[in-house]
């Protein structure tokens, strides 16, 4: 299972790779990273449908996470990848917009990795 993580903070990569150390080692998960919305779209264009889950930050310079979300949901049908939105401000407005745009889930920073792992496991079992 491949997860694409989108965030303008580069250290997110190290953090995720460590947090999912065992899963990566056991070949349960493959992590890919993009540092902007634009980069994420490019990645999806090249390897369409490869990522089953996209985790995206909302607050990024340039294309925001919400723009990316609406882009993905409009462009990639049958079956669209799951998109979970992450934001530093866990507010109603962003939540509602994200839900309206078809976000599959909504996470707030700081990320609770145990909760995230549970959510990923559930995707596996569906």
């Amino acid at each position: 299972m491949r997860i694409l993580i989108v965030d303008d903070e580069r250290d997110i990569q190290t953090l995720f790779e460590q947090r999912f150390r065992k899963e990566i080692k056991n070949n349960e998960l493959v992590l890919a990273f993009a540092y902007s919305g634009e980069e994420a779209l490019k990645y999806l264009d090249e390897k369409e449908q490869h990522a089953i889950l996209i985790l995206s930050d909302i607050n990024m310079p340039g294309m925001s996470g919400l723009d990316l979300l609406s882009n993905i949901k409009q462009k990639y049908h049958r079956p669209p990848p799951l998109v979970m939105m992450i934001t530093a401000y866990g507010d109603e407005e962003n939540y509602n917009t994200a839900m309206k745009l078809g976000a599959d889930d909504f996470l707030t920073k700081p990320l609770d990795f145990n909760q995230l792992k549970e959510k990923i496991k559930n995707i596996h079992h569906d």
């Binding site: 903070e9 250290d11 953090l15 460590q18 947090r19 607050n59 401000y89 962003n94 920073k109």
Partner: protein
């Protein structure tokens, strides 16, 4: 230079003796100044004299009625000389004690003198009361004029004091406003700072948690005897410790920057990395606006001159200037996007910061692709309190403060704007290290 020519002085002397003689009740002296054909018209309706005898009788009556000497003060005297003729006009204040009361009166007289044989002689006297009229038929006496003057002086004094007080109040209000503008921009900053600080703190917490787990795993591997895996885990722990330290320092420097901003203008000049400063305030502004308005989004770019030297400035002051300019720029691009017409669907709000090293000076430009500044307000935008923003959204102090700060640094703040294309504010600062 003497006030009068010799001839004029002679005329004045005769004129003055004539009047002072009346004040001193010396009728003989008075009439020795007059020609045999002197005539007189006075202030009263029937005060007329057709010759010297009539005039003298009139004067003698007056002296009998009021034997006390007068005091006379000449207020002004004016003289015109003709051939063997002179006209003297003057205003005098008569002070006279009547029944123990001082009464004073302002009188104007016009006196005509002829040069007869070997002396100047008075040939006609015309007395009148200056027309400082209050209402029809009512004249002001000198007392009243003096009193009125004193009242006016008092009023002027009171007004001046009131104005002084209002001015002091205005100054206090203004400095209060400037202070609150500083606080408001600090408030905006704080929102940006909260976001900027949250990310490194998340990293510190997350990497610390990972390390706790990794240490447990490390122990397990050591018990199992898998040295290679144990070393791999130990390497990761070391990397994570590095990350914790790095993000801790990042949070630290953000807090220090915030303190610097709030300390405001008692700052000192220090060699400053202009690119880093511009980058810092660009991010703070962006995240500050994002924190206020979730729907806000704009592209921001930097085109930094890599050869930028360190410039001697008060960093938090120039930081405030940058913050003002960048906030203004983000505001206009966001406004433009909100009010897009169907034709402009491809509009992408964007703010760019460009730095240039020009040798003896440097340039920082803040460029936006908003709607531009309308021609008719372009010369007003630097005025304090000028704003086109809705009440409560702008104090209109941003640009005027920015202008003052840049001026205080020996630099210039200029604006170029094209309607419908955007606006660029250019800060020029001297590089004093190059002479």
């Amino acid at each position: 230079m003497p006030k009068y020519t010799e001839q004029e002085q002679e005329v004045i002397n005769v004129h003055n003796v004539f009047w002072e003689a009346l004040a001193n009740r010396d009728i003989d002296l008075r009439f020795s100044c007059c020609s045999e054909n002197v005539t007189f018209i006075g202030t009263g309706l029937h005060e007329k004299a057709a010759n010297k005898a009539e005039y003298r009788i009139m004067n003698e009556k007056g002296v009998n009625q009021f034997p006390e000497p007068f005091q006379i003060d000449f207020i002004w005297t004016n003289i015109s000389m003709f051939h063997k003729q002179a006209v003297v006009t003057c205003e005098v204040i008569w002070k006279q004690s009547i029944n123990g009361k001082i009464s004073s009166e302002l009188v104007r007289s016009t006196t005509l003198l002829n040069y007869e044989e070997d002396a100047w002689k008075i040939v006609h006297v015309h007395g009148s009361v200056p027309d400082y009229r209050l209402a029809e038929g009512e004249y002001m006496t000198t007392e009243k004029i003096l009193l009125r003057n004193r009242e006016l002086e008092q009023k002027v004094f009171e007004r001046t004091q009131e104005l002084g007080k209002s001015l002091a109040e205005l100054k206090a209000t203004q400095s209060q406003l400037i202070q609150s503008e500083k606080m408001a921009s600090l408030g905006e900053l704080t929102a940006g700072i909260a976001h900027e600080i949250q990310n490194p703190l998340n990293f510190v917490n997350n990497f610390s948690e990972v390390n706790v787990e990794l240490v447990a795993e490390l122990k397990l591997e050591l018990e199992k005897g898998d040295i290679a895996e144990a070393i791999a885990i130990a390497d990761d722990i070391a990397i994570n410790e590095g990350k914790i330290l790095q993000h801790g320092k990042r949070a630290d420097s953000i807090v220090k920057g915030m303190l610097q901003h709030s300390r405001s203008s008692n700052g000192i000049n220090e060699p400053t990395d202009i690119n880093a400063l511009a980058d810092e305030y660009l991010r703070l502004s962006y995240h500050g606006l994002r924190a206020k308005d979730k729907s806000f989004n704009a592209d921001f770019k930097t085109e930094f001159d890599a050869s930028m030297p360190k410039i001697n400035i008060i960093p938090q002051d120039i930081g405030r200037v940058l913050l003002n300019l960048i906030n203004n720029a983000f505001y206009v691009v966001a406004e433009r996007q909100k009010n897009l017409s169907g034709l402009e669907e491809t509009y992408k709000p964007s703010v760019t910061i460009i730095t240039k090293n020009l040798g003896d000076r440097i340039e920082i430009s803040v460029m936006d692709n908003g709607n531009g500044i309308p021609e008719e307000i372009r010369n007003k935008i630097f005025q304090p309190f000028f704003t086109t923003k809705p009440t409560g959204e702008g104090t209109g102090l941003g640009l005027s403060l920015s202008y003052d700060i840049v001026k205080a640094h020996g630099g210039e703040l200029k604006v170029e704007s094209l309607s419908g294309e955007g606006t660029t504010f250019v800060i020029t600062l001297p590089n004093l290290n190059i002479r």
